[in-house]
Symmetry: C2
Subunit: 248 residues, 2 copies
DNA sequence: AACGCGAATTGACCCAAATCAAGTGGCAAC
DNA sequence: GTTGCCACTTGATTTGGGTCAATTCGCGTT
């Protein structure tokens, strides 16, 4: 309902919290200055839609803070999340006129937007940007492929355990804590969003979370706050690697 | 069983059938010459494994001819295809030591391989390569996301219809024929490979193909040769867009 | 012509997850 | 403190696709 949108704030790139992880990570000072000249900030409230699939999109952007989702829909309303956007993640595709997915804010978010045309031109001239974007895109492709394995072959219980371990791992990496043994974190998603992520119904999500709780794999405080007493146990439930991914 | 591998043939890049669609598409003559110096050909027979997930991989490559698959596996043997590699598609990730997926030849294939280290160095210096690779990777990411919608939300019948329409569309684009009305093509995959692609069992694939035949959506000649009398009908069965994707 | 073999089909049965339908619990508004 | 709303839970029932098992269909070999 609210509009917010174009933001008064103008953060200097040097002070930006995602400076070293976003699409601008490899940029030199002079390149940053050029980016500054084509950037602007927009913010959205939790629940708002950032862009509708098919809409004209005259910018690309980085998520500065908060969480957003990419979703695809069949006409009869079935929806599948195809991307989870965390701080530093990139939205939009250079060279593409219109959006191919719905983008929605899950929490309040702040986005650093670049006007598309100037950004594309700059990308042609600035290998640092194209190189970084390539790296990020390859990472996303890997994530998408892992997700495909989950969607195609895992059971509901394994899907939930996988999602929990992904959130736990991410949370640990932000807080710089080891992702082993006992862990605690908040679920940034509603049951429905989890269902859309995992290709399940929200009822099944709820039941499986209850089952994992009953079996002592997780502990719950309220609906969203999760404690994992034994991370290895959770990883086994997720069905990935028997060895908690210590190698490689 | 057979070994083939390093190929005696040395095709000049100028005469290469995938010259204008592969990772080298944007390269100038001098850049091509440099690529020539680090490239070599390898061929594999249908059914052979090109690389095992986790193996050291000291090359990246383009598929020149034939079809290969990328698959991921859970320890208990459940497998999911996560990529279908057609001529001009790229295999391997610059900057990564070892393979993350199993790559197998579905038909006999020929691959144009580049030694990884020199390729990576060249990519740093040659924006044309990084730019093209970015474009290709973004396309693959889009394909992966469409695939995720299929895996997460489509019914078995819709999955089969979607796969058939993908194959039909690709076949039409190669033969430069309109992809409307009556169409005929060969399935390049076994029932099992289709099942791995779609997150189904091979029995379900077989049953749904029989059902589509029974309902007149497709006609079969042998196991592999398919005729679609009405492409629009198939697209409706696939569940994507009610309007056969005429817009955009 | 008989054999063997892998790919595919078909049937009978079963089960995990979807669907349909009540409830519960927390919290903001009046 | 009552009302209403929304996110979530839980139960009963159905069902789509998986599992197990038997054939069948090419097709190359001898």
């Amino acid at each position: 309902m609210a509009h917010d949108d174009v933001h008064p704030v103008s953060l200097a790139c040097g002070d930006c919290p995602i400076r070293h992880r976003a699409v601008c990570a490899r940029c030199e000072t002079d390149e940053l200055e050029e980016l500054e000249s084509i950037k602007y900030y927009r913010s959205f409230e939790a629940g708002q839609t950032v862009i509708w699939s098919g809409d004209k999109m005259d910018f690309v952007a980085s998520v500065v803070s908060g969480i957003a989702t990419l979703t695809q829909t069949l006409e009869d309303g079935r929806t599948q999340m195809v991307g989870l956007l965390l701080p530093s993640d990139f939205v939009g595709r250079p060279g593409r006129e219109s959006a191919t997915y719905n983008v929605s804010a899950t929490t309040d978010i702040l986005m650093c937007c670049f006007r598309r045309k100037p950004f594309e031109e700059m990308m042609e001239r600035t290998p640092h940007i194209a190189q970084r974007l390539l790296q990020m895109t390859l990472d996303e492709l890997d994530a998408a492929r892992e997700w495909m394995l989950l969607l195609g072959r895992k059971t509901a219980r394994e899907k939930i355990a996988s999602l929990l371990s992904i959130v736990a791992r991410r949370d640990a990496s932000i807080k710089l804590r080891a992702s082993a043994g006992r862990m605690t974190f908040d679920l940034p998603l509603t049951r429905e969003a989890m269902a859309d992520y995992l290709g399940l119904t929200l009822e099944t999500v709820s039941r499986q979370i209850s089952a994992l709780k009953r079996d002592g794999v997780i502990e719950l405080e309220g609906k969203r706050h999760v404690t994992v007493p034994d991370m290895d146990r959770l990883l086994i439930e997720a069905g990935d690697d028997s060895d908690g991914g210590l190698l490689a």
